[in-house]
């Protein structure tokens, strides 16, 4: 348990620090955020033709309302938390990779819902937008990370979790007995 948390915290800090470097911003964060805006706009235009994306900005061509996807709204921090939690937990790398693939898709999928919902919420009420943007969606995205991690941990083969994994520490189960 202790080993899991120490590894989780170290990975969390290291990955977050890496995300903030100019290199990561230029080659990963900015393109990722732009892609998020483009995908959001593409999804929206399936049922609303009055939406356009420019860089990280999503804009209504009818009333000019726009949202800019900034740090904290691109799902990268939530993804970092998930990556740290999955990599810190004792498991085979094969299982970790499956968890990372499915988990990142789940987190980013919900993040698309967040961006799209905020885009329409802001056109309806800025007060509701602020509440959802600053508090509610932040909590929901992290709740998504927790649920994805719980589902992944529960689906791990028992021997994997109990210390039989080739790449996992011997006593990393979150059970009190092994803490």
């Amino acid at each position: 348990m202790l080993r899991f948390f120490v590894t989780f915290i170290v990975l969390q800090v290291a990955l977050f620090a890496a995300e903030l470097t100019p290199w990561a911003q230029q080659y990963f964060v900015v393109p990722w955020t732009d892609a998020l805006a483009t995908i959001s706009a593409w999804l929206l235009t399936l049922f609303d033709p009055n939406v356009a994306a420019s860089g990280k900005v999503l804009r209504s061509t009818v009333n000019g309302f726009a949202v800019s996807i900034e740090a904290g709204c691109n799902g990268i921090e939530a993804t970092i938390a998930l990556v740290a939690a999955i990599c810190a937990f004792p498991a085979l790398w094969r299982d970790r990779l499956v968890g990372l693939g499915a988990g990142i898709a789940a987190v980013q999928g919900l993040n698309l819902v967040r961006v799209i919902s905020l885009f329409y919420l802001g056109q309806w009420s800025m007060k509701a937008f602020d509440w959802a943007h600053l508090y509610v969606w932040q909590a929901l995205i992290m709740l998504d990370v927790l649920v994805v991690w719980l589902v992944w941990v529960r689906m791990l083969p028992r021997a994997d979790v109990a210390g039989g994994g080739r790449s996992g520490p011997a006593a990393g189960s979150p059970a009190p007995a092994s803490a």
Binding site: A71, V145, L156, S173
Partner: protein, 203 residues
Amino acid sequence: MTGGSGVTGRSQSSLAGLLIRVFAWLPVTFAIWYVTAPILLWPAAFLAELIGRVTWADIIRGVEQARAELTFATTLKAGSAGAQGGEIVVGVDLLLYSFGLPLYAALVLAAKEPGWPRRLFAGYAVLMPFVAWGALADFLKSIAITMGPQIASQTGFVAWQREAIAFSYQFGALILPTVVPLVAWVVTHRALLERLRSRPGAA
């Protein structure tokens, strides 16, 4: 992930039930958090003031809490060097760094574990220093970076300190408010997690 077929129906419904109860509790806990924030966040405000006034005594003249906003009165002067400007006052919204509280409370209440009030209080106590961290880092970021070189030059912070402040602010705003409540919940609900993970034939 090859063992997914071994998941029991009971544990599936347990996780689904937990999630449903979390969603039922979230509106309640968010409402309570918002309404009671001035009282609920007082320990974080106190901690931020204590640490701030001890560590940056030459910069912070006073700290006041009004509802969920913390106002730092500083000795820093507005305007160009040599000119007599007013003193800089920085406001910080504590809600921005404490929205993990209602999430943690909803998770604890949804889990329905014995001794939940103790778990609720333990998480609250753990979260307060991190709310104070967010508030202080926000204040320092404002005077050392956001308000421009005229203000920053009066703080005496050198380049590496400004880098550290920027990192602390980002970490305190983007990671800690959401990750700490989840970590606190996992730590205080290990037995529940073990039950959620249990399978037929397993201990």
